[in-house]
Symmetry: C3
Amino acid sequence: MLTQQDNERLTRIGPDTAAGKLLRCYWHPIAAATELARHPTKLVKILGEELTLYRDGHGRLGLIGAYCAHRRAKLVYGIPEGDGLRCPYHGWKYDGAGRCVEQPFEQTARPDRNLKDNIRLPAYKVEELGGLIFAYLGAEPAPLLPRWDLLVERNAWREIGHTVTGCNWLQSAENILDPVHVEWLHGEFRNFAAGRTGRTERKRKRIRHVKIAFDLAPYGIIKRRMLEHETEESDDWKIGHWLVFPSTQKGPDMLRFRVPVDDTHTAQWYYSVHPLAEGELQKDEEIPLYDMPSPVLDEHGQPPVDQLDGDVDPQDNAIFVSQEPIYDRTKETLGESDRGIVMYRHLLDHQMKLVEEGKEPMNVFRDPAANVCLSLPTESREHFLTGRLGARARQSRRYRSILRVPA
Amino acid sequence: MLTQQDNERLTRIGPDTAAGKLLRCYWHPIAAATELARHPTKLVKILGEELTLYRDGHGRLGLIGAYCAHRRAKLVYGIPEGDGLRCPYHGWKYDGAGRCVEQPFEQTARPDRNLKDNIRLPAYKVEELGGLIFAYLGAEPAPLLPRWDLLVERNAWREIGHTVTGCNWLQSAENILDPVHVEWLHGEFRNFAAGRTGRTERKRKRIRHVKIAFDLAPYGIIKRRMLEHETEESDDWKIGHWLVFPSTQKGPDMLRFRVPVDDTHTAQWYYSVHPLAEGELQKDEEIPLYDMPSPVLDEHGQPPVDQLDGDVDPQDNAIFVSQEPIYDRTKETLGESDRGIVMYRHLLDHQMKLVEEGKEPMNVFRDPAANVCLSLPTESREHFLTGRLGARARQSRRYRSILRVPA
Amino acid sequence: MLTQQDNERLTRIGPDTAAGKLLRCYWHPIAAATELARHPTKLVKILGEELTLYRDGHGRLGLIGAYCAHRRAKLVYGIPEGDGLRCPYHGWKYDGAGRCVEQPFEQTARPDRNLKDNIRLPAYKVEELGGLIFAYLGAEPAPLLPRWDLLVERNAWREIGHTVTGCNWLQSAENILDPVHVEWLHGEFRNFAAGRTGRTERKRKRIRHVKIAFDLAPYGIIKRRMLEHETEESDDWKIGHWLVFPSTQKGPDMLRFRVPVDDTHTAQWYYSVHPLAEGELQKDEEIPLYDMPSPVLDEHGQPPVDQLDGDVDPQDNAIFVSQEPIYDRTKETLGESDRGIVMYRHLLDHQMKLVEEGKEPMNVFRDPAANVCLSLPTESREHFLTGRLGARARQSRRYRSILRVPA
């Protein structure tokens, strides 16, 4: 249970907040690269700020302020050119540093005056890796974009899911530190829902947690579980799963990035990596992008069980939303199952304090040699809750496609 | 015309308000029993409170707080078991009294500690009668659930309609005390709308009110009307119609319950009872549930006349909404047609004062012998505005079905 | 760049604001006459006030308060009669001056009492011209409804478009004083969008503005442009285009009226006049009414280019909305292209001051002889950006019909 003040401190992400300052020390995914292939601009909201993401005519990414300095048309309507983004309203052009580099009529009518020279839009670093586009909104010099293992895996077939869930980022992140919910939400509740929908083939074998443990590790927190009939030799216990600080989940075949849109909305990016099938090949521009559901109650106040009797992610998202836009931690009752969450809150608090003292928090990488591939060991795919939760492969076939991938 | 203060006093329904305290002395319908047959949980909002209604594995109803005490997942996603409702997130189980009776991982990891013992969710009494589920949110001991005649009528064919109307409860209740609107809204306006839609067969004979009267009666207020060409011997005058205190309308074949959801939304439950046709039988689980419209203006600011040229209820609901979320009684002009409304406001005020003094208001029943069947005499069905408004039988065939009733 | 205070002064339109008082000196369109043929009442919101527009049984227009004085039902549900509008709830009747002229049950029950005599709803002048219905909400005596040339043109084929755009009126009005945006928004951006959609036949020849100029004129401001390869003899320069004060645009074949709904919504009426084709005839009741799009970003934060690769109006509306509900003029950077906007803001300020001093602002006409046809010369249709933007004729064929025009 937290005080209201502590709950505010951990959840609010504006530029002047403790959590906002911490989260601005990291790169966050903001788009799939294929979205810019569909249209080369996109309005992005992240950490409470609206920004214009674009790819210029030379293929370079830019991330600048949402509004033209002239008469505040949104630059997402802009025209990408070889070396920048041109405002659609009067043709002012900006480069990737937010500088205004052209004002056609101004330069025609008053070639002597340099109205453009003092204009500077917000501009942030943006990089592409593995089909995702990442942004860094913090102070310079920017750290390296971390090359987590799945993002750089070769010879893999990848797919990307996306949703914006109507809740604060922290409740989605705390769920990562919560082994026991797998037993219930993804086990008993799933089976209950499958019973309601009649799709009993979706039911899974019952599991029971005997003990759980959490370790601080170089990249975050490793959570461990031991189930009934397992020993300390099981992968779940020996290897465990990652919370990659500050808010990413690592499974054997998936990274789940959780990014604050604003105080009460969280963008979730599901990055899955599957073994390539025989003769299969995938270019970055062929990565499917699908719409992960964030289910809500139906119009009669009843659960939409047909969205809840299978994959774990819609189940998680329904629960996150059910905790209300900002989960009221002054009214919680934490127990043994929440030791990972308590550890995570302390870690967040500690890292916030480091940032407040002008120091660098964890997972800020500056040595390229150490960033070739950041390995996050998990159990092998075959053992990932085998026979319990089943394979999540090819989610993109099960959900609504966001982009039509060229055939 | 009321002062702003009086309007607030009569309309606001929070737990600390005068009207809220009065309304908490009564049982109110919150669901149709068939809704729990579709899915055994439902999030209910009543009198500004969000609650979880469920039916446990033994068929017993429960009504407890919306959120799990652990990490505040909504219990509407819960799994009903033989003796309670289990939270889907980590399996904490609650009984109908709101007690936490099981915490699986807590009991495994710390069998010595009894984290659950001090947990108590809000819990309210809930009962089923005639296919409706009623709740009581007031102080203990709870009174009896009133057995109004239509609710306990045997050998009848019943149907239930439901809508949530975007307005305060009081404007829907005041309409019950308003005989004259039948002449206009359900007569002249209906005929005007039928002229616009071209369904002239829906037009009704013109009626004119000559006099109206209102009497305080044991269960509420009886309203009487005398139309042109009628005498004091007519049923409309001699018998009249009921406002069943605090907010229910009784017609010859229908009870209309009006229940505050919050200050600006009102749930309306339409409980109709028809004579059984030859060879007809109806079990509770076969009671149709339909969606009564609450029409609003179309996108051009014009009335949706095709929803307004027939049944009286959509007409009433359109007017309630048109009075704005909370009807501004500081700007009204009451006249002779509103004498029933004035009497009702005085009755409300008086009953609120009784509650404020710690006394019991009217219609609180505690003697089972006197609650076998509470008879609310009205004219016979045949005479109910005969030839004027026509039979409303089988509304469920005319509106969108909420539940698919098993064939 | 303005101060926050000046931006408020120019944009806010409530009854006690400077801009609100100025705009209340003018007639504004509020409906197409055909809308009242579909249904004879319409709820209108203009300058922040909700009003009931209706046509009575004798064909006369009325514009009175939104609510019945009795129990505040919305009069848009009313029944028009020969000499007024009758409330649907209890039959109270109002005339066009807002007087209550009948209260059926009150007059039956208390013929001695004259409850109705002191009731007076707000009532405003309303007139029809050329298929549009105009309202005047200011002080009496009302000026004449201006007979702008296109509104009274004979032997013409007319069409009316309508949209409500989610932004303050001033950003839509300022766009009229902005010649240079035609080069970019309606040229380069259009061509970019047509490239994206593949409808390359929609692309237009590139234009470049060499100089622009603005003149105060009897009816408002004339804007002039000279393009590359043009001389001072071109119509664009010699004749120019009109901002008809306070907020109407005049093109060779169109009047665009921009009317505040409230502080953050603007109704736009597109009144087009085309030469009649051989054998063509058009009665007022045959004027098509169509829904002009006000495009917004799609659910992925990307521009809906398929709505933006053709006609100028959807392009303008997308930009107006993109400037946010109220464009923040404390953060703008005005230049040479904005000299017309600066002149317009000064003109607005000056006219507001006149009104504050109790004087009449410009374009208030009181002499019928001078109001037969107010001529707003523009270049001939043939020359209107010929070969550049192309004819906009028959917009109603390209957009969603609001009214089914009788065949």
